[in-house]
């Protein structure tokens, strides 16, 4: 076999892979044994290939994977956000719920007296919102205070009437009750009972009837209820 330096160079890859036929392998080794230049070349290339295959891979920067994931998954995630919500929103159950909430809001706004058409752009400014909120809080507080004071007046009147003595000295200001025929008042209790019939007490302490309340107020005015209590 005619084996020269060029053939050795051309078949070096097969020699290193171990795929040369036995006859070729023999020719290759006999040539390199005789040719110092080819022997050196084979040794250098063989050593280089061995070192390259043993070389550790280069470490990638630690943030590279994160960057790649951000670059690839990022847009898909944002896309999925819309795609993921769309079926939920368009479900009949969700749509009905949304419609109910909208109707409730409309009723609430109507009850409060807010007409969206009347609201101007300036009403949505933070300063305006804070001012309106502040005003609403103060109004609510004033209403509560007034309600409690009214309640105090009612209870004060009621308690005064309940603790007032028998109205023997006030008969001139109270319409006299005509005793019914055949009914004699012989004992002090009967007098008291008559008066109690003339001034009906409230059936319940906290909920006097309309007519009873009028009588109570009248009695309290007669008793000169101090104005400070009002």
């Amino acid at each position: 076999m005619d084996w020269n330096c060029i053939t050795t160079e051309e078949r070096l890859i097969d020699f290193l892979d171990g795929t040369l036929a036995a006859e070729e392998h023999a020719a290759f080794t006999s040539h390199t044994a005789a040719c110092a230049s080819c022997a050196g070349m084979v040794a250098r290339v063989g050593g280089l290939v061995s070192k390259m295959r043993q070389a550790a891979p280069v470490e990638e920067p630690p943030h590279l994977v994160s960057k790649i994931l951000a670059g690839t998954r990022g847009p898909r995630g944002r896309e999925r956000w819309w795609i993921g919500w769309a079926p939920l929103i368009w479900q009949p159950r969700f749509a009905m719920g949304l419609a109910t909430v909208a109707a409730s809001l409309a009723i609430l706004l109507h009850a409060v007296g807010v007409t969206p058409g009347d609201l101007k752009k300036i009403d949505y400014r933070p300063a305006s919102l804070v001012r309106a909120g502040n005003r609403q809080v103060h109004l609510s507080y004033a209403r509560c205070v007034k309600f409690v004071n009214d309640l105090r007046v009612v209870y004060e009147i009621e308690s005064r009437i309940a603790s007032s003595p028998p109205m023997g000295d006030q008969t001139e200001s109270v319409p006299a009750v005509q005793p019914r025929p055949g009914h004699e008042s012989t004992s002090p209790d009967s007098n008291t009972r008559d008066k109690s019939q003339s001034y009906p007490r409230p059936s319940r302490r906290g909920a006097p009837q309309g007519s009873e309340l009028a009588v109570l107020i009248h009695a309290s005015l007669v008793n000169n209820t101090p104005r400070s209590l009002l």
Binding site: E9, E10, L12, I13, D14, M41, A43, R44, V45, G46, G47, L48, V49, S50, K51, M52, R53, Q54, A55, A56, P57, V58, E59, E60, P61, L64, V65, K67, I68, L69, G71, T72
Partner: protein, 167 residues
């Protein structure tokens, strides 16, 4: 994911010799893969081979794009500076065993022609089979083997000139 990232980054780094460019190119590779994932057909080859093909095409584009820069700057002047800067700032492979040989190998690879360089990298540093390299490079297997063989011999000669004796 990390395995593929390392594989692509190594290919880009070995081909360009520049860590920053390799990082950018690796991101571009995965972005392109992500966008063209629908066109991947398993019968065309393994996913890793397809990934390598995408990376190789981008590397060729990058090589052509930066050719003018390389022509204006002398490679002999630029490469040691690049390598020195790389070793000072990033030097990810210097921590590994054989870091010195790795750096010298990188300098030698930079002086190879791109055809020989990519063939040697794919075979000896990436460990691809001949048929996989044929798929990636879109050339016959005989050409693949020829390029690898010539690349190895040329690289050994360059390293010999640099005073590196890998044996």
């Amino acid at each position: 994911m990390r395995r593929h990232t390392r594989r692509v980054y190594n290919l880009c780094y070995r081909f360009t010799g520049n860590a920053a460019a390799a990082e950018d190119l690796s991101q571009d590779v995965f972005l392109r893969v992500y966008r063209t994932l629908g066109s991947y057909q398993p019968q065309y080859g393994a996913f890793a081979t397809w990934l390598t093909s995408v990376a190789r095409n981008l590397l060729v584009d990058h090589y052509r794009r930066t050719r003018r820069d390389r022509l204006t700057d002398s490679i002999e002047d630029a490469m040691p500076q690049l390598e020195e800067k790389h070793s000072m700032t990033r030097a990810p492979d210097r921590l590994a065993e054989g870091a010195e040989l790795s750096a010298q190998l990188q300098r030698g690879l930079a002086r190879l022609s791109p055809e020989l360089r990519e063939a040697v990298i794919l075979r000896d540093l990436q460990g691809l089979e001949y048929n996989e390299i044929r798929t990636v490079l879109q050339v016959p297997e005989g050409t693949v083997k020829s390029r690898i063989n010539r690349g190895r011999i040329e690289l050994a000669r360059i390293l010999g000139e640099m005073g590196v004796r890998p044996t």
